[in-house]
Amino acid sequence: MSHGPSATGGAALQGAPHGHHDDPYVPVLTPGSTPRAKLDDILSRYPTRQAGLLPALWIVQDERGWISEHAMKEVGDVLGLTAAYVKGVVTFYTMYHQHPVGTWFIQVCTTSCCNCMGAEDVVKAFLQQTGCGELGLTSPDGKYTVIEVECLGACGFATPIMVNDDFIDSMSVERVPEILKKYC
């Protein structure tokens, strides 16, 4: 579903259309698999299976890089939830990718505390030097996706960025080439 003008300009990141290419889907949480064992262990910490939803989604995203509608169905089946319910949860949390992203997913904090320290220039530098061009789009070589993110909780270390799970603080325009060299 596409979305029109929205205050937060999230259109580029909006969810994939129904049936986004993830065929054939290879299940992640098959009984006996390592991810499933990990999930089962986590489930033992909670009184309900539903509480395992966020952890399960993390496991799937770690394995597959994003969460497709097939994946939502799989997670739902494992936890006794409908795919629609899972979708409602997935789309609530911004860290779950609803479409494939580049090998390196770069999030740059641009909320006020970093904004006033030049975060927007860091974003521009990344967009140019990765070849992504636009926020939320993946570079033609498939390596990078750059997005602006709301507060990463390291405001005193402006500008913090995340490259996949790596947290890098005190980013500046000057350090962008160095970072891209590291993640290539």
Binding site: S6, A7, T8, G10, R45, Y46, P47, T48, Q50, A51, G52, L53, L54, P55, L57, W58, L79, L81, G88, V89, F92, Y93, T94, M95, Y96, Q107, T110, T111, S112, C113, N115, C116, M117, E120, V149, E150, C151, L152, G153, A154, C155, G156, F157, A158, M162, D165, D166, F167
Partner: protein
């Protein structure tokens, strides 16, 4: 200490004493620094007695609301036969705030100890530490420390051989500011959208999984072992201002300032000295202009106002703002206030959970108006609309995210109206180049 800077002599490092000290991260290192003594003592102490010690210390919630911690714990009905839960709020999502991150990164065992003591004090056998998903490093550090503590029998089914069960688990968030709101946090743990719940019922009656639950901020829980070790009078005596605000407090400082970072000072410290002495004043050649002292949700004040503030709950309220989470955001004279406030409004519009009408629609509308003003298409009526819209959005929703959008914006317009009017009149603000 003013991590990442050296501790300033005027700081009172209690929680931050070991920031930057890699050895303090390990179980052995933590024990060598006096760790887990308080827990050992607490596990053989009556829960109500612990609640009373915390009450006497004057400790108030460090997450933003400032509710007395011991009193909150006493709402948990002990012996009611129901499972009780403790949630440690490590969502730290309030822009400008990054203190809990450092507590977890450097003193994970201090937090574990605090959680275990609190769990015992409220009759909980399970504690979930809800850490925001972006905090990959703090999550890894906490997981490692928890594994150590579990392996050493400090936590688990027989915590420190006391026969008491205290299990502590990390629950990773996935990117949602609102999950720092306590009821949204519980929903998130339950595998739901992070929508705040209507209160009542309050968490102490029906919280996580419908059971009695207490939610405390990281900094609050981390302070508890120190209070037990040194006594409530010691903590209560740390007070330079209002007698209702006690103890040391971590302030996160960010924005246009010479030495951003975390600083731990006693409640009631002079904000002026804090800003110019501890934090090193403005960047070279610039002047401080505006300050949001308690995380982005509180009203913005001018530097002139800030210089008169005593840094405690009551001191900030005197100037129409709040201590909040202690996230001090500083804007200097090179910044456009309309642009920064528009950016803040965008944050709230992005983070609104979408439940309440006023918040879902209002935050987005306010963002659009502000961005239009910044783009040079604003009108004077727009400013009136923002105030009226804020009135519609304040005090009428399930949680305070909606209020939090209007608070900095309206206070900012009131104090820096000239900048808005300059944009509306088609002139660029005298001190700034607008790039938006």
């Amino acid at each position: 200490m003013g991590y990442p800077h050296k501790s300033h002599p005027r700081e009172t490092p209690v929680l931050s004493k070991y920031f930057g000290d890699a050895e303090a991260r390990t179980l052995e290192g933590w024990k060598a620094r006096g760790g887990y003594k308080a827990l050992a003592q607490a596990l053989s102490t009556d829960p109500v007695a612990i609640q009373n010690i915390v009450k006497e210390s004057g400790l108030r919630g460090r997450g933003g609301a400032g509710f007395p911690t011991g009193l909150k714990w006493s709402f948990m009905k002990l012996g009611d036969g129901k499972p009780h839960y403790l949630c440690c709020n490590a969502d730290e999502s309030e822009p400008g705030t990054f203190k809990d991150r450092e507590i977890m990164r450097w003193t994970p065992h201090g937090l574990i100890e605090g959680c275990a003591i609190a769990a015992h004090a409220i009759g909980a056998e399970t504690c979930y530490i809800y850490i925001r998903g972006e905090f990959t490093e703090p999550i890894a550090v906490m997981e490692r420390a928890l594994a150590e503590a579990r392996a050493a029998g400090i936590i688990g089914d027989n915590a420190m051989g006391s026969g008491k069960k205290v299990n502590i688990w990390v629950h990773r968030g996935a990117g949602a500011y609102i999950c720092g709101e306590e009821t949204a946090l519980m929903n998130s743990i339950e595998g739901r959208r992070g929508n705040p719940r209507i209160k009542p019922p309050f968490p102490a009656v029906a919280g996580l999984f419908g059971m009695p639950t207490t939610i405390n901020n990281v900094e609050t829980l981390a302070a508890v072992p120190h209070i037990l070790n040194n006594g409530p009078e010691w903590y209560k005596a740390m007070c330079l201002g209002s007698p209702k605000s006690n103890g040391s407090k971590l302030f996160s400082v960010c924005g246009n300032v010479a030495r951003p970072g975390n600083y731990e000072v006693v409640m009631g410290f002079s904000f002026k000295e804090f800003l110019y002495d501890l934090c090193g004043g403005p960047l070279p050649g610039r002047k401080f202009k505006a300050i949001i002292p308690g995380g982005s949700s509180v009203p913005v004040i001018t530097i002139e106002e800030a210089e008169q503030v005593k840094m405690d709950y009551e001191g900030f309220m005197e100037f129409g703002t709040m201590l909040g989470s202690g996230g001090v955001i500083i804007f200097d004279d090179a910044q456009s206030m309309p642009k920064q406030l528009a950016r803040l409004a965008r944050f709230y519009a992005h983070e609104s959970c979408a439940q309440c009408t006023q918040c879902r629609e209002g935050t987005a509308w306010m963002t659009k108006i502000l961005e239009r003003i910044v783009a040079g298409d604003g009108t004077f009526e727009d400013l009136d609309t923002i105030f009226e819209l804020t009135e519609s959005m304040t005090g009428k929703t399930i949680c305070v995210l909606s209020d939090s959008c209007g608070a900095p914006v309206c206070s900012g317009i009131t104090r820096f109206r000239g900048e808005f009017e300059a944009l509306i009149k088609g002139k660029r603000s005298s001190t700034v180049t607008v790039t938006a």
